[in-house]
């Protein structure tokens, strides 16, 4: 139990995927303009990451390793991620149409979200077991969620802030993202897991 909490908190605070590992920065900047689409996107990413961790672990353990095909890891993992994203898209289109519309192009872009591929590859690199992989995938999704929601809160405030003309829009967003990342560095060494 203690270890589960450690993994979740450690991934969110110490090893935050977006703010510390700099993975998945494209949707982080792209979908953070509005809080509700940020929440929706986060939900989709958590779902895809958790499932992707489970499936890629199985693919690696039962298909690639026995056949000594570890060199195919990246391409087969991308295949898994792409299929999962398509699956999520079909489900969303059917059941949560407004969310599907507000996510727009960023939903298919989860396919190329390096955070998803990153978590799958990290699971293998760190030789996690199945349960641990799923947990790590889930908490990686949560860390993306935390970063995205924090940042979209900041960006909603930036809309009304008195920003110098030259910094309006994306520049100030990039600067605030950098500050947020710096702030998260304060969690470095909080605990080891």
């Amino acid at each position: 139990m203690k270890q589960i909490i450690f993994v979740i908190m450690g991934t969110i605070l110490v090893e935050n995927f977006v703010l510390q590992k700099f993975l998945g920065v494209c949707p982080f900047l792209g979908v953070s303009k509005k809080m509700d689409s940020a929440v929706g996107m986060s939900g989709a990413v958590v779902f895809v990451m958790t499932l992707a961790s489970a499936v890629t672990w199985a693919v690696n353990e039962y298909l690639l390793i026995p056949n000594e095909l570890e060199f195919l890891r990246t391409i087969s993992f991308i295949l898994v991620v792409a299929a999962l994203v398509q699956f999520v898209e079909i489900i969303l289109k059917r059941f949560i149409k407004p969310l599907y519309k507000s996510l727009g192009i960023y939903l298919p872009l989860i396919t190329t979200n390096c955070a998803v591929l990153g978590v799958a590859l990290l699971n293998i690199q760190r030789t996690y077991g199945f349960g641990m992989s799923v947990l790590y995938g889930f908490s990686a999704g949560l860390s993306f969620t935390v970063a995205l929601i924090l940042f979209s809160g900041i960006r909603e405030r930036l809309e009304t802030a008195d920003v110098p003309e030259a910094f309006k829009g994306l520049p100030i967003a990039l600067i605030s993202a950098a500050f947020l990342s710096l702030a998260f560095m304060g969690f470095q060494g909080l605990f080891a897991f």
Binding site: V59, L63, L64, N67, E68, L69, L72, I75, S76, L79, V80, A82, A83, Q86, F87, I90, I91, K93, R94, F95
Partner: protein, 280 residues
Amino acid sequence: MDLSLLIAVLIVGALGLVFGLILAIASKLFAVKKDPMVEEIINALPGANCGACGYSGCEAYAEAVAAGECDINLCTVGGEACSKELEAITGRTAGEGKRMVARVLCGGTLNNRKKDYDYSGIETCIDANLLYGGDNACTYGCLGMGDCMKACPFGAITMIDGVAFIMEDKCKSCEICVGVCPKNIIEMVPEDAAVTIVCSNHDKGGVAMKGCKVACIGCGKCVKECPVDAITVENFLAKIDYDKCINCGKCIKVCPTGAILRYNKKKKKIVKKSKPAEEA
């Protein structure tokens, strides 16, 4: 060596095949049934996505029409021509919808109104309004920075002498300006309503007159003059009930400040409403 190559191809191929099959089944299982009628309706609609119909855009309205959830004459932009097309598509008949137009209820042109101070901030009504309700002495009147003009997707609004003016032949009654105006002085009126009280000032007569020469002072002369009791005075502001008004224009003559005006001068004869019982 050859074998391992074959195995690699086979395994990745098999993976792809399995995922493909799962996706194919899922897309069949969770297919979104799309009504072909929706597509047709979308094409018939003007596509302004203004939301005047009460739905969040043309697509949402089209879906509601196709599902039979609402009337087919709600699109004010497309007007009658559009409802006709929808009639053809859906096979239902459209009710007679009266065309509404937006009208700015303020006559405080630059030479009529007085200024409290010189505003030199951002040139939008919403910003000017934040500073003590704008530079007008009349806190109800048009600020003249043209927020509505910028918002109008049909270019139907111009600024004349510091007051917004809506060209009613261009107005598509999307009501966007109504929502944009920080003073809430734009009102939707029936197109054939010719006589309008062009003031929104709820101050007492004396206060209103200090701010603007053409303010309604709530004297009630028009109420007495009106042959069909279409006018009422509430909170020192006269209001016309357009359902009762017969466009006779008697109130215009008695108004001491000139706050009542006639619109649509040319259309007066054509669009006269149901005949009055008798002009008493």
